[in-house]
Amino acid sequence: MNSDPSAEKTSRFKLKGVVVMTTAMLTFITFWKAAAIVLCDFGSSAFYAGSIAMKAIGPAFPWYILAIMIFAGPILLMYMEACSMFTRGGIFPVVKAGLGENAAKLATAAILFDFLLTGPISGISAGQYIVGFINSILEFLNIETALTGDGFSILFAIAVTIYFWYQNIKGIEDSSEKSSRIIKFSVMVCAIVVVWAIITLFIKDDISVPPIAPHFNEHSLGWAADIPFLQHIGIFGVLMALGHSVLALSGIETLAQVFREIEYPKIENLKKAAFIIFVFALVFTGGLTFLAALIIPPDLIATKYQDNLLAGLAMNLSGPTVFKLILQACIVAAGAVMLSGAVNTSIIGANGIMSRMAETGILTDWFRKIHPKYGTTYHMINMICVMQIIVILFSRGNLYLIGQAYAFGVLWSFVFELASIVVLRFKERERKRLFLMPFNVKFDHYLIPVGGILVVIVVILLALTNLITKQVAAVTGISFAAFFFLIFSVSERLNAQKANDIFEEGHREKLNHIKADTLEKALSTLSKENRLLVAMRDPDNMYPLDAVLKDLKDDDTDVIVLYVKPVEHWRIGKREMAKSVDENELFTNIILTAEKYGHEVFPIEINSNEVFYAISQVAIAAKAKEIIMGVSGSYGAHDQMERLVMAWGVLQNGQPHIPMTARILWEGREVSYKF
């Protein structure tokens, strides 16, 4: 294990058992990739939101889709505030902190409902686009046959769900690169469509701007049809129309889940990601839907292109049919991959949310059961995929039906999460927020979130309106939420002791312990120009790592985080060995600190009977430019530094010295020495 084997033979100070800690939680991505992940879900609603809204509110649908996409801006700002408080966002911790555990369970049930419908609606929609494209080809070839979409869409959606079920059971590796490629392709297709559509608008002379007033049918009025006075309140009509368009916002909550993965500088990158998401969604979903409504004749929107609106847009542009077919192929390709990606995101999202519930002890161990071969939570993945396939079969490929129900999960998860963010302004006013939803008024010790309150009011009004107008959503959504609330509550009772233990112990990260034969092998994966070694010991004192990561501006530095585990049976004479700590707690806190700043760290553990010897040896082997450690409560910084330089000196063996600085940090103070 020693860099110099001869030194190991003569030394009584031992260094053995290098273990590299790895976890999927330690990779960070650019703001662009984060935006791409969110857009693969959020942006995919462009392919079906317009069609569903059109069936509900008639030709006015593009105005309301556009309004909803503009409303995505304030919602993104609210999510950004939540992210700045909870690095590991997700609906459960935010709502639990804001509105309590029961509300958090309901919110989780609502978002699970959302995820369970995201898969089917995306899979079916992709199927409809493929069928639409096949029909366009058949029409081009003058073959008088047209496929009906529903049967194929059901099969396609089931196939995609089974494919991603298998991928998730095996464990999917980082997919941000794939998402990035999908979005780049979609941006390209979108740009071509927009430019071509604008040219078409200038060429065509029969363009008419869609009306703003929505037209409801008996189905889209729902129970409101039986409440005549509501139909005379203009604002209620607007709320109803918006409520039928709100499913376009589905997937926006992915931002909270992806925030953990965003690299340094986290908040700045979050802002950039949110801006890209907003602009892309506005243009892609809002813009293309509006252009489709302007260019496609209304009778075709309601019939031929009712389930593949953007394909209809391509086929109704001015120009040669062959080129339009190529463009439709591109749209179908973009749609198929984005929508299929959304199926995958829905499985990952639902599994992630249920895993968080299981981690807090609310779900029993049955849910957390790990696949013996792949190490994935296969019970949860099986359950999610089976439910999604049931939804696909029951819907019989009817996009409108699923779309109606879908909005329930989207809206009620917003209600709980956004209301929690507002409540937390009062409940936890001292809590550090690196981003605030704009429009605040200072009153006494509080920063009243006027902007946030307005957003919550709008969301609550939309959710209540939808309860009245969407019978399918209200019945299925409430039933589902009640069912899952019951599961959570019963499971929590069955698991009460375990939940209590988990609460007492706190969150523990799952870490892979990879043993390395030599120190050099363990460090061989380091690739950056500079290395820093941070020696950590106390799980409750992350100050040294915090200070290092806070000031680490460039991406040219590997940060090695070392825990030297004292080994009692290698004790030398009467030497007092430091007590070993709960290493899982230590490394969990190290990972959480790394996540907070979005910097990758390289955690390793080494067994040794001499801490300073081990630290120096790792620093020399890694050619680290700095050694950073916290102060010891027993000895003080000066004694520690003295011992460190002695250990460093012993290990030089007459080799040329590599410039290195040792720093001992505590409470804004520092003792340093340049070797």
Binding site: T10, Y635, H638, D639, E642, G649, Y673, K674
Partner: protein, 152 residues
């Protein structure tokens, strides 16, 4: 001040070099070396300085696995580094059970400006006094030669 501390002939002289063949405890050896330095520096309070060294010895060990022990103290009334050396052909045990084969005791001025030099001396001693070098010293019977060897 950084250069001065590493220049062994400036901080150590033959009168402060001892070849210890008799049985002795580490504490007595420390006292002996402290006394040798204080004899040259009458302004130092030997009792206080000894107490500082022993107090430091209670902290993190100053003995290395090579057999070198480096007791030390940062002393208020001092404006230059001072040192004494003992070579022990028959090793003694330190408080932690490690073998002490050579003891290099030194005082450094207490000012913060000298701390870097203090650390530099510790690192340099730890590097220089490796196992082979200590063995070489233990086989040397001449104090002048010992001073020459450690001064190189």
């Amino acid at each position: 001040m950084d250069n001065q501390n590493n220049n062994i002939p400036l901080i150590l002289n033959e009168n402060r070099i001892f070849i210890i063949r008799e049985n002795i405890t580490k504490a007595d050896l420390v006292s002996k070396l402290v006394h040798s330095i204080c004899s040259d520096l009458p302004n130092l309070n030997e009792e206080e300085v000894l107490s500082s060294v022993l107090k430091r010895e209670q902290g993190i060990s100053t003995t290395l696995d090579t057999g070198l022990s480096i007791p030390h103290a940062r002393v208020e009334d001092l404006d230059a580094f001072q040192a004494a050396l003992a070579v022990l052909p028959a090793p003694i045990k330190d408080d932690y059970g490690l073998d002490v084969k050579a003891m290099f005791l030194f005082f450094s001025p207490a000012g913060q400006a000298y701390f870097s030099g203090h650390l530099k001396l510790l690192a340099a001693l730890a590097e220089k006094f490796n196992s082979d070098f200590i063995k070489e010293l233990s086989e040397t019977n001449d104090k002048g030669l010992l001073l020459k060897k450690v001064s190189l």
